[in-house]
Structures are given as structure tokens and as C-alpha cells.
Symmetry: C3
Subunit: 208 residues, 3 copies
């Protein structure tokens, strides 16, 4: 039951991240197939990295057909409806934020289940969240949003911390997963619409 | 016998991909050693990724000296003969296409031997084919040919599918590997010389 | 005893590489958290790659808290003192050289301990040394210093070879590790201050 819930969240995260990957592919004028590859990479690179690091080989994204299916579906949807979907840049950012939130909580939960200590489990959740976006941006030669965007990695980590706290308190995991995901998404929304951000190092002020 | 044939094809693929990596290194004005590193990376990143994902650790490219030797040979050959080899851009693209074809079929075959299901085996073949070129392009900060080039990843996947079909029909694997490799190479040649390509998403037409 | 010495060198290498990663993050105007991520990536990507390739899962950087702690410390130090630290570009290059030297020797030693053959152990040392810098540069979209810088990968390999020679002669490993690290650092210093470099392929001379 909890396992099915975890997989469903994970597949949903894969779908929205694959959408963001496919949208980046369209922007870079990739063909249909390159777009599919980028959708799969963006949707699954974070989870694959996590699985390699915690020793869960072969990774779920390789052994379970549904991750591939969901990624291809997202790629096809983007291919056919892209002009209607991406009128401005914000929808892509919101998809991205939703995928980040879902991956951060499912990644943390999987790392806890694999027996990692709480600090590292939260970091694995963050990696799951930011890994796909990092690979997507590196592949289309863009400046990596993941490192530059306001409250990005930190939002993913916050979600991971919420899940870990729930785990340490022995509360039901899915409640804390939902709270963590909502917190992460809310932080990203604040960053996108209100411009919330962390401080930059002081070099800028002194140099300009 | 079949094993030796597989290794020979794999080493040949490593050689031609290492040539393409070294040629990209010369273009980016890397020194002799950086060129060797890029030759090794381009020649072996796809196979190493595949081996990590299917749990074959340490990867063949690390445990078997010949992959290193073949890569260094390709690096040296490029270093000394580059001006004669690369008069125009097309020879590099043809080397690249041949390496893609060889890697796609050997990668699929190895994944089948490791017990992966047919769909994933074909995708692992594609990854073996495009992984080295992706890393090569990312490292020299070029737009990744692998995602942008016409019929690139799709050609690798076509080769993988041919090998998988042969496997499912219990035909001798090397016949289907040769057919798959020729199909992949022919698709790339058509794309390079005739401009064959897959459709782009419709955004371009509507925006320009 | 030898184990503690190895870990101490490894943590020191992580610290100086994390400094170089954080400095690159400040240059690219990442926020505090992105800077931490880049510090961790630069400090640990080489070691994590090596551990994945030799099958030591989960990698030390994931299972041992100290690698994370040291990386965050370096990130914080850079964040607060950056204007004082990086007056010119050379200090960053020297930190980088010191990290390279430490990682090359500890990486080689770990690969030998894992039972790899001498040639591959030296190459794993080189990978440990250059992996973090490669990821750092790819993430901030810079031309990879690692491949372009004079005597970079070759200096790391030289350190690895020294360690391997000591291992084959059954000499005490830490003496050869110190010699190897000093050789690597000295080669980098000569490259930075005296412009030592390896030959480029002849294409440049013929084309300009």
C-alpha cells in the first residue's frame, strides 16, 4: 500500500520532469527522438544516480517499464501540444517545481528504506530532485537552473528533512511526504513569483 | 567464439569512437594528454555507463587492458596524422557513425546476456552508442551532436531492436548484429549526405 | 594508522577541491546553497566515480559524514572570505593543484587496496584527481580546465605512477604517496608559473 503510493508519486515526478526535459528539448530544436532521450534523461537521471549510489542495481528506472513509458508519454505530449503548453516560461518552471518536490520526498524515502543514515537520506532526496534537471541543462548547454535558480536545491533539501524528521519520530511516512512536497513546491513558487532567494557571496557588491 | 567476436567488435567501436574523441580534442586545442583522456572518455563512457547500470562492476573498460590500449592508440594516431585525416568534417562524422553502429549492437548483446528484458536491452544498446559521444561533446562544451544530429539516437536504437528481434527468434546473434550495425550506419549516412531527419515540434514554424 | 593517514589526506584533498568548487560558484554568482552543492560536487565527484567503478558501494563520500562536513566547511569559508581569498586567479589554481595531488595519491592507493591491477590503479588515481574538477567546470559551463590546463591530468597520472611503483617494490606506501603528491603539485606549479606544457597536435601550426 505504502509501496504503491511511493511508486505512484515517483512516476508522477518522472512525468513532470520528463515534460520539463522535453520542453527544453523543443527549445533547443531537437528532433522527436532527441526530445524523447532528453525527456527520459530529465525524468530519470536523479533516480538512477541515487540508485547507483545506494547500491540498488539495476536502478528502478531501468528494470521497471513504467518509468520509460511515463517518460515517453511526456515526450509525446510535449511534442504535439508544446505551442499550447509553453506560452510563457512560467509553466515550465512550475512543472519543474512539482517534479522537484515529488522526487525529493520519494528519493529520501527510498534512501531511508535502503538503510542510509538520516542526513545522507535527505541529501539523496535532494540529489534525486536535482539530478535530472542538472543533466537536462548540461545536455542542452544551458546554465544549470538547478544551481542558479533561487531556492532550488535548498527547497529539495527542505522536503527531504521533513521526511527524515517524520521517519525519526515514527510517524506515518506518507503524511510527512505530502507535507515535505508541499513545502518544497511552495518555496519554489515563492522564489519564482516573489523573487525569494538566498544571499550571494559579498564579492558582487564589492566589485560592481 | 561468439564471445571473441563480440569483444573484437567492441574494441573496434572503442577505436573509432576514441578517434572521434581525439579529433574533437584537437579541434579544442587540448594537449597530447587531454586528447588521450578525451579519446578514452569518448571510447568508453557509453560502455562504462551500461556496465554500471546492469551491475557488471568493475566495467570491462576498467578491468580489461585492451580498451585502454585501443583508446590510446586512437589518440596517438589522431595526434600524429590529424591534418591528413580531418580535411573536412565528414570523415569525423563517418567514424562516429561506425562507432555508433558497433556499440549499439554490442551493447544490446551484452545487456541481453546480463538478463535484461528485450526493451531495456535495446535501450542499453542505444546508451552504449550515444554515451561516449555525449560525454565527449559535454566536455569540449559543444552542442551535443548526439541529441541534435539527424537520426542519431534513433539509428542506434534501430540497431538494438534488430539484435533483440534476432535474440527473440533464437537466430544466431552475430548475423543480426551485423545487420543491425549496417542498418544503423546506413541511417547515419543517409542523414549526413541526404539530410534525412525526424520531424521537429511545431513550435518553430509557428514562431518564426 | 596507515588507514587514518589515508583518510586525513583524502579529507584534506576534499577540502581544497571543495574550496575551488565554491570559488567557481561565487564567480558564477550562485547563491549560498548552490555554492554548497558545487563545493560538495567538486570535492567528491572524483572519489565517488572511483568508488562506483571499483564497486565500493555506497561510496565513502556518501557513507562517511566527514566528507560532507569538510565540503560544507570549505563552502562556508569561501562564502564569507571570498573577496580576501581570491584576489587574483592564481590562488585558486594552487588550491586546485594541491587537491589534485592529494586525490591522485589517495585514489591510487584505494584502487590498489581494492585489488585493481597497477596500470588501472594509477588511472583510477588520475580519475579521482580530475573527476571533481571536470564536474565543477561542466556545471558552471566553463571550458574544462582539467582537459585544457597544462600538465593537469598528466600530473595526476605521474603521482599515481609513483604510488604504484612504491606498491610494486613493497615500500611503505605513505612515503611514496608524499613523493607522488609533491611531484604532481610541482608539475602544476611549473605549468602555472613557467608555462610548461605538452605538445599540441600539429594542425594549429599548419592552419594559422
Amino acid at each position: 500500500m505504502a509501496g504503491a503510493f511511493l511508486v505512484a508519486l515517483d512516476l508522477l515526478g518522472t512525468f513532470v520532469f520528463a515534460l520539463s526535459g522535453a520542453a527544453a528539448g523543443v527549445k533547443s530544436r531537437l528532433d522527436l527522438f532527441g526530445l524523447m532521450v532528453l525527456a527520459f534523461a530529465a525524468g530519470n537521471a536523479g533516480g538512477i544516480s541515487r540508485d547507483l549510489l545506494i547500491g540498488a542495481v539495476p536502478p528502478a528506472a531501468i528494470s521497471d517499464w513504467r518509468y520509460l513509458g511515463v517518460s515517453l508519454l511526456a515526450g509525446l505530449a510535449t511534442f504535439f501540444w508544446y505551442p499550447n503548453i509553453d506560452v510563457r516560461r512560467r509553466p515550465v518552471l512550475l512543472f519543474d517545481g512539482a517534479g522537484l518536490a515529488l522526487f525529493a520526498v520519494t528519493g529520501t524515502q527510498k534512501a531511508l528504506a535502503a538503510g542510509l543514515n538520516p542526513v545522507m537520506a535527505a541529501l539523496m532526496g535532494m540529489l534525486t530532485g536535482i539530478g535530472g534537471g542538472m543533466l537536462r541543462d548540461v545536455l542542452v548547454n544551458e546554465t544549470p537552473t538547478v544551481l542558479r535558480a533561487d531556492l532550488y536545491a535548498v527547497a529539495a533539501l527542505a522536503a527531504g528533512v521533513v521526511v527524515v524528521v517524520g521517519h525519526l519520530l515514527h510517524y506515518p511516512s506518507f503524511a510527512f511526504m505530502i507535507v515535505g512536497a508541499l513545502l518544497c513546491f511552495w518555496l519554489r513558487v515563492m522564489a519564482i513569483f516573489r523573487g525569494w532567494h538566498l544571499p550571494l557571496a559579498s564579492s558582487r557588491a564589492q566589485r560592481n
